[in-house]
Subunit: 319 residues, 2 copies
């Protein structure tokens, strides 16, 4: 079975671990969000790709969900001693090595997709991990500064990590997406898929950014395979992160049903909501999307594998 998953960071990575456990023999291609990539200290950092790679490769810091386990922060301390920032982004020494290798390869002319493949040679994530695009796309967020009232457009990471989404996101713009091309293999994987899955990743800044690369949304809409998604909103709030802030920026309510309708019937064939959101099933089905309520909390590997099995069963039923 060929499965294509559009993944952001922590939520997507943990779902993928459950999916691999549920169908260990499946041929899984992950299309990773690169809109939260950022250049720090002259190095190219790809947080979502690395979170998927480290999580599936056994190198992730399980407690925080991102970054490396058994990490130290000597380089970061030294950079701060030089007065070089930003200090709000927590790059550890082990993680730095990944960014150094990536930046060196990019500088030598390799596209990000080839670099990602090379990094995965070490991590053996058990999936084919593709960046959504080899072209540079960076999500920016328009905010009004709390103190000054000044309107600013900042990098998504500054909004997410430094400000912790503490102010409203007035607009979310994937800068460069319009000119970006899908990375080699992306459209082919979508066309050849037996199932396409939107895991419980952020619908705006993760899955939404991937869909903003011209050709990807169209390929998914045109694919013969069923497309099923899992709601990242449970009981009217994001399970993790601050998805409600960026959903508001695109005028979408933070409810399981609203996110399904935001993706829309041109993309989604099936949608899973949490059992606590069972009341949303009728609304989603009324829009023409097959919907089921199942437990959607990724509390452990088995619970997550069960979610993956439910998604695949729903795909089968949505054919």
């Amino acid at each position: 079975m060929r499965i294509v998953v559009l993944a952001g960071g922590i939520g997507g990575a943990r779902f993928l671990r459950g999916l691999k456990s549920a169908v260990p023999d499946a041929d899984i291609t992950v299309i990773g969000n690169t809109g939260d990539d950022i250049h720090l200290f002259g190095l190219k950092v790809c947080p979502d790709l690395d979170t998927v790679m480290y999580t599936l490769g056994g190198g992730i810091n399980e407690d925080q969900g991102w970054g490396r386990t058994d990490e130290s922060f000597t380089v970061k301390e030294e950079l701060a001693a030089y007065g070089v920032g930003p200090t709000w982004f927590g790059l550890g020494d082990r993680d730095f090595a990944t960014h150094i290798v990536r930046t060196q390869m990019l500088g030598a002319g390799y596209p990000l997709s080839a670099v990602t493949e090379a990094l995965c040679d070490r991590w053996q994530p058990g999936v084919r991990l593709l960046p959504m695009s080899d072209d540079r796309v960076e999500t920016h967020v328009a905010i009004t500064e709390a103190g000054t009232g000044e309107r600013r457009v900042i990098h998504f990471q500054e909004y997410w990590v430094r400000l912790r989404a503490s102010v409203d996101a007035e607009a979310v713009v994937p800068v460069g997406a319009e000119q970006a091309k899908p990375a080699p293999g992306v459209l082919e994987a979508i066309a050849a898929a037996d199932v396409i899955v939107f895991p419980p990743s952020n619908p705006v800044v993760s899955v939404g950014t991937i869909l903003a690369v011209p050709g990807i949304r169209e390929a998914i809409a045109a694919a013969g395979a069923p497309v099923v998604g899992l709601s990242p909103i449970v009981g009217g709030a994001p399970v993790r992160g601050m998805a409600d802030k960026v959903l508001a920026a695109v005028g979408v309510e933070s409810t399981a049903a609203a996110v399904a309708l935001h993706y829309g019937t041109d993309l989604l064939d099936g949608w899973l909501v949490d059992t606590s959101d069972a009341a949303a099933v009728a609304e989603v089905e009324a829009a023409g999307i097959t919907c089921r309520a199942v437990p959607l909390m990724m509390t452990d590997l088995e619970a997550t594998a069960e979610m993956a099995r439910a998604a695949l069963e729903l795909a089968e039923a949505s054919q």
Copy 2:
């Protein structure tokens, strides 16, 4: 008193510490060798500049004479886990931060001289540290491979660090030197100097490389200030390192007198040899260079300061 010192790595840095101790109020400009600079992992590494900066700024690993004290090697281990080399160059985590800052600034368009000044803002070496040039110069060494008999031209660092000069250096070429320009301030410092000193650095790959930048040798020869040097050869062998190997490549014997004559009377006004080489004094003086025999082992700070005082007295006497 304005003193200009042409410095390589360990020998030059330790001499400078003695010089600062001997004349704490002197205005010292160091023209640093950048011919042993190397790009590693996409980062610009300047071993000699850093050795001077760390030594005078209190960050040096005293035992090995290069690199940072209290160092760890997490990044290097991770790079090795990615299969990315070279593994023979020992970059520690603290040291990596220096190279990351430097590379980021160079990438942003700052010349190496401005970057070096910015790094020194942190280290406060108490001297003005100038790279010999903002242009890229890399010393390469021609060798014949021990096993295969193959002739190869390799980076100086590979010859020095990986091979530990275990094969003959057949030629030493400062690639790029002919097209290089002295960094801003270099010629001005030489012209304004009261004394110019060649510390006991390597006469070929350290001081020799600096002199290979068009304009620098000529400026020193034309300077009004006396030029004095300290022999890095004591008792027919280098005090440190493998200077004999690269002296042989340029056809110079490893003796205190031969090195003085190699610099020549167009540059040198005075030359210090070690007391064990007192027999060389007559030969050097016969060539027209004032020469004295004094203890030249930098065993501790006071012994080194005494060497510096002897060099300044010799300069006075050579006027």
